[in-house]
Each structure stands twice: as structure tokens, then as C-alpha cells.
């Protein structure tokens, strides 16, 4: 049995770790690329959302590396992601791929069924203690990954030479992927902190940017966690001198979706529904409420702008998108919505981001220019 799984940003590191520490053979599919998307789009129903298309692409690419079992999480709706497993299984079987699909969820609410599925994946050699240990370790890794990502978010606008920052991020991810001890995880996070500090000290005081613009990114989890599907929006914003924060981090999702809130994750998503209440008091599936809640939270925290990202035809996010104008009005904060699908081009997104950042910078400039004008008028008067 060779297990594979769909990509979602950095999630591969966590999933790979989980299976490797259980001695299960795992195939990490090639990273999301244009090729992945093209392969997936050919098989997918045309109006399916972007994640499904990328998932199918991942499976096809993994199949050529010998994978024969797919692991995917599930859910009982109402977001259609909950039904991905079954639809993907049928599509793949139709296309002649003999995949076994294991959906990690309690089937019909039965925990015993979930246990059986885990047992099927882990084989008979692993004891439950070992499985739980492996899960804990993978979880710790996801928290560390999120911390590193957050550091990089803060470093991007503040450090010169963006290529070096990206390299640092790349190396940190590599180290995290390879390490198999808790100490290794901690060391990597510390190493990233040290490197950033060193580079920051090298920057002249005069060139230092202390207060970059801050933008909160909210939206559908797959597209905000996966840089390929959001056309690298975080990196792009970082290069434009913007500090980015994101509503959902991987470990927060793992904590609430897989551990059912037993572990809160690096950034818990628990507080969002409370924030969303005045605007959207009821859950709408997926992360619709979280999107609205996070937008309110960012607005209250004084962020300069909010960008919502979601795949075309995403149902919960459409509901959120139709509520967000009210948030925009109430807190006087510009909210931009980016919808991505397989036709999204890099240049288009880049232009929109630049325009948006320009728009956010204007109030700052205006404040300064008003001051000078007063000066001029006083001279004239």
C-alpha cells in the first residue's frame, strides 16, 4: 500500500510526517503546478470548485509514482468538500485509476468506523499509543510551521532583498520536513527567528520600515493556505511592503476539524463566530462564518485592509461575500474580493493587488499632504 493525499499549502509536511512515523509508505504528489491543474480540470465536472480540480491533478500525478490509496478528510456538510471523497473515487474509477479512497471521518457518526479506517491505514503493526504519539508529533510540526509562516509574514515587508526571505522560508520548511524529533522542531523555529534578527540588525536604521500596511486575508481555507491557487498573494503583498495576516492557519484548522477542538492550534479559529454574530449569526458551512468573524476582528484591530479569497462558486464564501459589505460599511475598512479558478492569471491578480495597496496607502499620503498644504496656505495668507 502506497498512500497519497491532496496538497494544501504546507499540509504535505505534516501528513508525510504522520505516515512516516508510522512506517507507512507515502507518496507526496508533485507540488501544485499548471500541469496538476490541467490534468485535474480534464477529469473534473466543469462547475466543481478549484480545490477538487487540483486534488484530482494531485492524484493523477501521484498515481504515476505508484500511489494506490488516497487519504482525505471529510465532513457532513453543508460545504461540498464533505462529499469530495466519494465523488473523487467515482471519477478516478471512471478514468481507469484503481485508487482506494479512505475518508478520515466518523462514518455516520460512528467513532468505531473511524478507528477501523485509521487501523486500515496504519496497518496491524502499529499500536494505538504509537498512532496517537505520531498524531501528536505531526500536530506539533503543524504548529511550528505556522509559527515560521507568521515570522515570514512579518519579515517580508521589513527586510530588503525579498529573494533571501523566500529562501529562508524554503530552507525552514525543508528542515521541518526532515526533522523527526521535537528538539529539531524547536531548533528550526529558533533558527528562523535568529536569522531574521540578524538580517534585521544589518538594515540601517533610516531604511527600516517600522509600520508597514497591514492586510488581513480571509476566505476559503484551501485557497488561502495554498499559495498556488491564490497565485502567491501573500508573497506578492509582502513584496509590495505589506504585512499579511491570515484568518486560518493550518494547525488551527487541524485542531478544530480533525481534533474537534481538543487542541486549539497555533491560532485558534474559535473566537470568530462570536465576532461574526452581529452580521451572520448562523453557521453557513465551510468557513463562511469564520471569514466574516475574521474580517470583523481585523477591522477592530485596526488593519488597513481585508482581502477575501475564494474559489469560483464556493457556496459558504458567497454568503460571506454578500455580508461583508456591511462589515466594510460598519468599520470603514476597504474589503476586496478575489475569486480564483483555473483561468486565474498571475498578471491580473498582481494588477489588482497593486491597485488595492495604492488605495490603502493614499489615506496615509493624504494625511501628510494636508499638513503641508496648511503650511503653504499659512505662508500665502
Amino acid at each position: 500500500m502506497k498512500v497519497t493525499f491532496p496538497h494544501m499549502g504546507n499540509a504535505w509536511i505534516v501528513i508525510q510526517t504522520l505516515f512516516e512515523s508510522l512506517n507507512v509508505e507515502v507518496v507526496v504528489p508533485p507540488f501544485n503546478s499548471k500541469r496538476t491543474l490541467n490534468l485535474g480540470t480534464k477529469l473534473s465536472p466543469e462547475s466543481a470548485c478549484l480545490p477538487l480540480k487540483l486534488n484530482l491533478g494531485n492524484y493523477l500525478e501521484a498515481a504515476s509514482q505508484g500511489a494506490d490509496t488516497i487519504v482525505i478528510t471529510g465532513g457532513i456538510g453543508p460545504c461540498r468538500f464533505g462529499y469530495y471523497g466519494e465523488v473523487e473515487r467515482q471519477i478516478l474509477r471512471d478514468a481507469g485509476y484503481n485508487y482506494e479512497v479512505v475518508t478520515l471521518e466518523p462514518p455516520d457518526g460512528s467513532l468505531l468506523g473511524l478507528g477501523k479506517r485509521i487501523r486500515f491505514l496504519a496497518g496491524s503493526k502499529n499500536s494505538w499509543t504509537k498512532i496517537l504519539k505520531a498524531m501528536r508529533f505531526a500536530y506539533l510540526k503543524s504548529v511550528a510551521l505556522d509559527r515560521v509562516e507568521d515570522l515570514i509574514h512579518a519579515a517580508r515587508p521589513r527586510l530588503p532583498e525579498p529573494i533571501l526571505t523566500e529562501k529562508l522560508y524554503e530552507q525552514a520548511r525543508e528542515r521541518l520536513a526532515q526533522t523527526m524529533s521535537e528538539k529539531g522542531i524547536q531548533d528550526t523555529v529558533r533558527w528562523v527567528q535568529e536569522s531574521i534578527r540578524e538580517r534585521q540588525e544589518a538594515v540601517n536604521n533610516s531604511e527600516r520600515i517600522n509600520k508597514p500596511l497591514r492586510i488581513g486575508i480571509v476566505g476559503e481555507i484551501y485557497t488561502i493556505l495554498d499559495p498556488f491557487s491564490s497565485v502567491g498573494i501573500e508573497e506578492e503583498l509582502g513584496r509590495l511592503g505589506v504585512e499579511v495576516d491570515r484568518s486560518i492557519y493550518l494547525s488551527g484548522w487541524v485542531g478544530s476539524h480533525i481534533f474537534r477542538g481538543i487542541a486549539p492550534g497555533y491560532r485558534s479559529i474559535r473566537s470568530y463566530p462570536r465576532h461574526a454574530k452581529p452580521f451572520l449569526p448562523h453557521f453557513v458551512g465551510g468557513h463562511g462564518v469564520e471569514t466574516v468573524g475574521a474580517a470583523v476582528k481585523y477591522a477592530r484591530e485596526g488593519y488597513d485592509g481585508i482581502i477575501q479569497v475564494f474559489p469560483l462558486s464556493c457556496m459558504p464564501e458567497i454568503v460571506a461575500a454578500s455580508v461583508l459589505p456591511k462589515v466594510q460599511e460598519a468599520y470603514n475598512i476597504p474589503i476586496m474580493t478575489l475569486i480564483v479558478d483555473e483561468h486565474t492569471g498571475h498578471a491580473g491578480i498582481q494588477t489588482r493587488l497593486e491597485a488595492y495597496v495604492d488605495l490603502l496607502e493614499r489615506p496615509r499620503h493624504l494625511r501628510e499632504s494636508i499638513e503641508t498644504r496648511e503650511g503653504v496656505l499659512s505662508v500665502g495668507g
Partner: protein, 372 residues
């Protein structure tokens, strides 16, 4: 007190319940007029761009109300255990607020059957407080609503007509002098029953099908959300056009037991109530030898359909059943639809006439030469 009930979305499924409910509470329910061009245009202006056609229509219908005290927009979370409605239903009324005309207020209530009848009643009692009705009143109204809904659903036979049944309900609603508990719907059904010979008193759609087997008309299964199949403006009168040329088996007419039976093949239960009906009915039509072809009516951007359509088409392909997907949006043109419909029906008819007649003569069937 007058309550505006938009003729969109859940109107097509649950209007009888609310009609009975409010009738019992002595509240007048006003439905918006059937969709026309202006309603659609208004809806397009106010609804968010990304949302689907039915919600845009809802936004239009909301704006069509003139003098009502409340616009009623319930949040129908779930209508049976273990399922949800579409996520966009869950976002009502918040996502519809931009479409509310200034000065009008919204009446809403959560309806969540997942949590059981008691919770539904509790939520309705909250609504009752808002309307100044006592708990006992609400209970009574609730049971009457359920009764009307049941009668409505029972009346869905093979030749069931949506408009007709709604008219019956409205008639019952207006005749408040009559005994209230039994809408005329039931009597209509009784009349049908009485006409049938005593032996076939078990009135099932199948008994009808056998009668009509002799006719040469095509039999087309139409599947799709009720708010598309019955929304004759948005679907460009598809149902009527289809009925002119063929006998239509409608997704809503397939009874629950049959749907349940056909759902059993899935590894994972579908968790959308409409999709369950669509998939179950679709699979039944695929298996049914008497159905010549299937038309799947969907709208652009429908999330649940994007999954279920794939499942149904998979089944249709397996059985080599003619299958067509019609996708509606606000730009749907009549000519395009008619052409596709005619082509599809022609194809189905040809297939029925020539099915299985592949020449066994000769060694090859080369279309470029007429010699063997």
C-alpha cells in the same frame, strides 16, 4: 397583519406549510407575483454577482412587495435528520438584506429539523412572541402547517401539477368559513381515488404508467431543484415545452421510499436534502426502462449540483441512457434552449426507433467508402 412571502426558493417546497401555519394564526400571507422581467432585473441589481440565479430571483421577489408589514425570510437549515439545505439557504436572511426595500422589516425564524421537532417548535415560539401569539396558538398552527404540507406531498402523483396544487392551497386559505382543518386538496385526491376501481385503491404512480404504456409518446425524466423545475420564467417554460412533446416524469413526483431505495448504493450518504431527492430520482429514471431520456436542470454556480450532476451522469453513462444537462442563468436565451431540447428529443426518438439495429452485414463499416 400582512406577511409577504416571496415566490422563490423555498416557496416551491414549503409554501403549504407556511400557508397553513399563518392561516391558523389568522395572518394574511401575500405572495409576490410570478416572476417577470422586472423582478429578475431588480434581483440582478441587488443580489451579489457571484450568487446563483434562484437567489437573485429571491432578491427580485423581495423588492416586488408593496404594502406588507413583514417580509418573511425563514432560515431553513435542515428539513430532515442528517441533512442540510444548501449553504446559501443558511445565509438567508443576512445575505438578502441589501435587497430589502427601505422601511420594510424582515421576519425570520430558524428551522432546523436536525435537532428534532422540539427545537423547531421552540424556534417557532420565538417567532410567535414577535407576532404576539401564544405558545398554544403556535402549536396548533404548527400541526396545521404540517398537515397541509403532508396533504400537499401526498397529492404528488404522476400527473401532479405544481401550479394546480398551490391554487388549491390558496383556495383553502381564503375559504376561512369552511372547516379549516381539511384543505380541499385532500378532497381532490379522494375524488380521484373514488373514480378508480376498488381493486386499485392502492394508488401508485406505477398504476398510471402501465395505463399509458400503449401510447407512443416519449418519456423524459426531468431532475433538478424544485425552484428551477417549477420556476417557469427562469427555465423558459421548459416543463411546458417538454410536456407538449413528451410525457414528463418529474423529480418531485418520485416518492420517498423509492428515493431511499436508490440512495443505498452510495458509499457516503448525501447530506443535502434536495440532492438526495435528485440523485435518488435520477438513479430511478436511469434504471427505469420506460424512461427514454433524462434532462438535468441546473443553474450556473450551483454547488450541490456540481457534485450530484457528476454522480447522476455517471449512472446514466453506465446504462447508456440519453442524458442532457441544461444550465440556466440570467442570460439564458429561449432559442438556444428550444434548439437543444428539440435536438435531444430527436436523438432520443431516433434511438428508440433504431436501437439495436446495427448491421451485421459486411466486414467493415467504413463511412468513406460504400464498398465492403
Amino acid at each position: 397583519m400582512r406577511i409577504g412571502f416571496p415566490r422563490a426558493l423555498y416557496y416551491f417546497d414549503y409554501y403549504p406549510f407556511w400557508a397553513g401555519f399563518f392561516h391558523c394564526l389568522d395572518i394574511e400571507v401575500v405572495t409576490s407575483p410570478p416572476t417577470h422581467r422586472q423582478i429578475m432585473d431588480q434581483g440582478l441589481k441587488k443580489a451579489s454577482d457571484e450568487t446563483c440565479l434562484p437567489l437573485k430571483l429571491l432578491a427580485g421577489h423581495i423588492q416586488a412587495f408593496k404594502d406588507v408589514d413583514w417580509i418573511f425570510l425563514p432560515r431553513i437549515v435542515s428539513v430532515e435528520a442528517d441533512t442540510y439545505t444548501c449553504p446559501k439557504f443558511l445565509g438567508i436572511p443576512e445575505s438578502m438584506l441589501p435587497a430589502i426595500p427601505p422601511g420594510m422589516s424582515v421576519l425570520t425564524v430558524n428551522l432546523n429539523w436536525r435537532k428534532g421537532k422540539r427545537q423547531v417548535l421552540k424556534d417557532l415560539e420565538v417567532l410567535g412572541e414577535q407576532l404576539g401569539k401564544s405558545k398554544a396558538d403556535i402549536r396548533k398552527a404548527f400541526s396545521q402547517g404540517l398537515e397541509w404540507q403532508q396533504n400537499y406531498q401526498d397529492s404528488m402523483g404522476a400527473e401532479w401539477n405544481f401550479e394546480e396544487s398551490i391554487r388549491e392551497i390558496n383556495r383553502a386559505r381564503k375559504n376561512s368559513t369552511e372547516s379549516v382543518q381539511v384543505p380541499t386538496l385532500v378532497r381532490l385526491k379522494d375524488r380521484v381515488l373514488a373514480k378508480l376501481p376498488a381493486r386499485t385503491s392502492k394508488y401508485t404512480p406505477e398504476s398510471r404508467i402501465v395505463d399509458q404504456k400503449t401510447t407512443e409518446r416519449l418519456r423524459i425524466g426531468l431532475v433538478g431543484h424544485s425552484y428551477l423545475t417549477h420556476e417557469s420564467y427562469a427555465n423558459l417554460n421548459l416543463l411546458k415545452r417538454l410536456r407538449e412533446k413528451a410525457t414528463v416524469e418529474l423529480v418531485q413526483n418520485v416518492n420517498q421510499e423509492e428515493v431511499k431505495r436508490h440512495l443505498s448504493g452510495l458509499r457516503k450518504k448525501l447530506f443535502w436534502s434536495h440532492s438526495k431527492q435528485i440523485y435518488g430520482a435520477g438513479k430511478k429514471f436511469v434504471a427505469d426502462q420506460k424512461v427514454d431520456g433524462i434532462i438535468y436542470l441546473t443553474c450556473f454556480g450551483c454547488g450541490t449540483d456540481s457534485m450530484v450532476q457528476e454522480l447522476v451522469s455517471h449512472k446514466a453513462r453506465e446504462q447508456h441512457k440519453p442524458y442532457m444537462v441544461v444550465t440556466l442563468d440570467e442570460h439564458s436565451g429561449e432559442a438556444g434552449l428550444v434548439t437543444r431540447l428539440e435536438a435531444f428529443l430527436d436523438m432520443v426518438e431516433r434511438r428508440r426507433a433504431h436501437e439495436g439495429y446495427v448491421s451485421t452485414y459486411g466486414e467493415c463499416l467504413d463511412r468513406n467508402s460504400n464498398t465492403v
